[in-house]
Amino acid sequence: MSEPLLTLNNLSCERDSRTLFSGVHYSCPPGTLLQIVGFNGAGKTTLLHTVAGLLPAACGDVRWRGRPIAQQRQAFYQDLLYLGHQVPVKPQLSVRENLLWLGALNTPATEAAIAAALVEVDLAGFEDSPCYALSAGQKRRVLLAQLYLSRAALWILDEPFTAIDKSGVLKLEAAMARHATNGGVVLFTSHQPLAMAEFTTLDLSAFQLSEQPSEEAI
């Protein structure tokens, strides 16, 4: 169990050929709950995109179960659940229909499972409401319902607490902690103070500038 699931191997990322951070080494064994911290513009979203394989790394690579993700996209994506800044929910479809198609892309969900997940995110009774008639927080809750449906081992959550009210935040933290104790890995970012007890943080500021000269020296 101590063999790492996810490894960031000497990772450097660039935007517009400006190096944001470099030399990030980190390995996440099962049970890791890792918060990426950093000021606005530090490169947290960039890091998460790179881990998910959406952006190429300037240097270094990301490994999943020991193999670089570029060599095993399909297997990696079967294990991945990614929730970003955006809300991929079709306004004209109902909550249930949206969860059905989102699920089909990764873990097909049954009606019963969806009903149970909606109870978890306090959207019971909204199964058939069209999503355009939801508030900002309710829309994000539809996405978060996926956490209760997916069987993916790696969760990447970019500011998952956005627009969620206090009781919702507590529930979400509990879900993340449970996933970690079940042997999953959670990578997330947030600027809010959290109530959760056990999580590690990775501060991107530590990999900035100071590292950059050494890059140039190479």
Partner: protein, 232 residues
């Protein structure tokens, strides 16, 4: 939920995207009507802009119906991936174990079912209005059915390439038009040659071959383009 998969079945996502988009279209039913209306209206514009005498109309009818079908398809292309790009669905498509090729194919099929097919089926009515000679109706419908499918496939590639641009409608035109030209030429020639009594078999065969090729090439190209657009 327990962690770990018993293997993702390729095709699940394909069916889900098909169902999702067809449901969406059904919810906004007018979406199906609109390309038809565009088609109808622009054909109506024609005799208003030019001399509407029967003879002249009959000569330009096959070409005009084909040109307007092309423009109607073109107009509806921009929305093919736009919404999925804006709301982040595209990222989810890419991050799914299902090959992107299949997702693109599902979207193209829905596009054709809701745009090209209705256009082809309504074309005979426009033929009447433009006094198309009797022999032209079947070749018109058949060539449009195959031709619009090819145009949807080519259009998917164009839409994928331009989805990350701000105002893409016109760049899209630029990319797609040169590829549409051969389809247009073959298609309208098929109709006019069968009106002239030479039969439509050769033209239809050519279109069929083009369709097979487009099916192989275009979704792959579109999938590649989508991957590029996503990491803007």
């Amino acid at each position: 939920m327990p962690i770990g998969h018993d293997g993702y079945q390729v095709g699940t996502g394909f069916k889900a995207i098909l169902r999702r988009d067809l449901t969406s279209v059904w919810r906004n039913r007018s979406d199906i009507a609109s390309p038809l209306v565009f088609f109808l209206i622009s054909i109506t514009l024609l005799p208003l802009g030019v001399d509407p005498s029967d003879k002249l109309l009959a000569v330009i009818a096959p070409g005009m119906i084909w040109i307007m079908a092309l423009l109607a398809t073109l107009l509806s292309l921009d929305s093919l991936f736009r919404q999925d790009y804006d709301d982040g669905s595209l990222t989810q498509f890419i991050l799914s174990p299902q090959p992107l090729y299949l997702t693109v194919l599902a979207k193209v099929i829905v596009h054709w079912l809701t745009t090209g097919l209705p256009l082809a089926l309504i074309a005979p009515v426009l033929g009447v209005m433009l006094s198309l000679p009797a022999g032209g109706y079947w070749p018109l419908v058949l060539s449009l059915i195959i031709g619009t499918a090819i145009m949807s496939l080519i259009g998917a590639m164009g839409a994928a390439l331009t989805v990350c641009l701000r105002s893409s409608a016109l760049v899209l035109t630029l990319i797609v038009m040169p590829l549409y030209l051969p389809v247009l030429i073959i298609g309208s020639n098929t109709v006019s040659s069968s009106v002239a009594g030479f039969g439509a078999a050769q033209g239809l065969a050519l279109l069929g071959a083009a369709l097979a090729m487009a099916l192989l090439v275009m979704p792959v190209a579109a999938a590649g383009a989508l991957r590029i657009s996503s990491n803007h």
